[in-house]
Symmetry: D2
Subunit: 151 residues, 4 copies
């Protein structure tokens, strides 16, 4: 029995996007929850993610937040791309830590959407603040590969 | 004979940072030129960098631009971290394309620096615009691992 | 009887800053609430704030959000300046509408602070999202005029 | 004889926009040059633009940069609105100084445009860096008031 078809669709889109995204899979990003306008993902900091500071690379944190953003803005199964994003690095993520990114749709009007992503370490420490702007293109997120996800 | 000791130092810092940065090396980022307040890097789009669109992942483009930023803002051999960045995705990068990131210091006053990074495909097509804000911490970029680079 | 000396100080700083800020006063910005790391201000859209769209000028919305940011980041009575900000324009503000800006400190570590400001119309409609980055300089916000506030 | 009809149109749009924009006129913003994808404006810092620092208010600098952006992104006479912007405050503008904002179109693809605005003091000192993102709506910039300009 399907009690929440919209969230089912959102989960289906995220699963297909992840299966087609080698980068996100190689980082070990796991989708914890996804529903219309929302996504929550997790990842553990691995040795190969460290930079010369011996802390997690800023590009990895961005990629992680960006994945949550992509799942949230494609959750309506309308093909949507990122047009811009900004990130504030608050505290470094350390080797072995589990980090969580939670993406929330702030508004979606016409083709333009605005999303906030908060990255925290599992105990609640703030790691980064990310804001993404999306632009809806034609097609469905569950469509064929070209034009099928947020990037 | 050492004709430009400041650029020599900037190159040395970049080489050490790259040697300690597993992520940038795994992407195949090559440092083409680096001098005080400036860095130019190159990379070729590999299959594992693609997303479900079959174009280069936005997180990879960010990581690439961020590397150029890190080399430029550490070029004075003063330990410097990124505090925030924004990126505009202009055109997708395709499999096999070579992309170039050129980071320029716009201003450096006290502890705060502002850098522009332009990402282009090798024929000149604009791929992304990145702006990074840096914050100088204590220590030298060529110092021991903890606190030694921009992330 | 002074039950909350920190909030008293924050209110005192905001009052002094507003008294010295001709621009904010000419826009009719009113401080509704201020406490450590938080500020809430209100303003009504006047005819002279309209642009050729006959809606409120984006620069006015920015200035309004920026004031809330300035009160929040100076609420600790440590002289603090804005180093950068970004704004997303969500829905236009119309003539006669009352708008509210609520600034919240997301983090304050060493000299750097990050603040979120949400601008809404009085019925709750989202008008703009603003994120400000602050940098603490020497001196107190309640000190003499030069260097005494966030701008 | 009309040697450059496109620049003539861009100038005409800017003149109409300015005539309908009370805020920009009250700041004394003057349009120096405008052509397709480009605008240059000037303004002198007046006493009423100062904040409690006795330097020009950040909101005034934003409004000034935003005007240059609006003229540049409406220069093609297609109604265009700002969807987001970011600003970096580099050096303060002082009472009596003349400042210049120069807006350049970095790219315009479909409905989305990206513009860089550089604000300098007349001797060349960098005051602020602004990046604006535009979204084209229906109608012409020279059309009737509602929907006729960038804000």
């Amino acid at each position: 029995m399907n009690l929440d078809p919209e969230s089912d669709l959102a989960r289906q889109v995220a699963a297909v996007m992840l299966s087609r995204d080698a980068m996100s899979r190689s980082l070990g990003i796991a989708v914890v929850e996804v529903r219309p306008g929302y996504a929550r993902v997790e990842m553990q900091i691995q040795p190969e993610m460290l930079n010369s500071h011996a802390i997690c690379h800023g590009g990895v944190i961005f990629t992680f937040a960006d994945s949550a953003f992509a799942f949230a803005c494609n959750s309506h199964n309308r093909s949507t791309v990122a047009s811009s994003a900004s990130i504030d690095f608050i505290s470094p993520a350390q080797l072995g830590e589990k980090i969580i990114a939670e993406a929330t749709e702030r508004t979606l009007t016409g083709r333009l959407g605005f999303y906030d992503v908060q990255v925290t370490e599992s105990s609640g420490r703030l790691v980064a603040l990310f804001r993404g702007r999306s632009y809806r293109i034609s097609g469905e997120s569950l469509g064929p590969i070209a034009g099928s996800d947020s990037k």
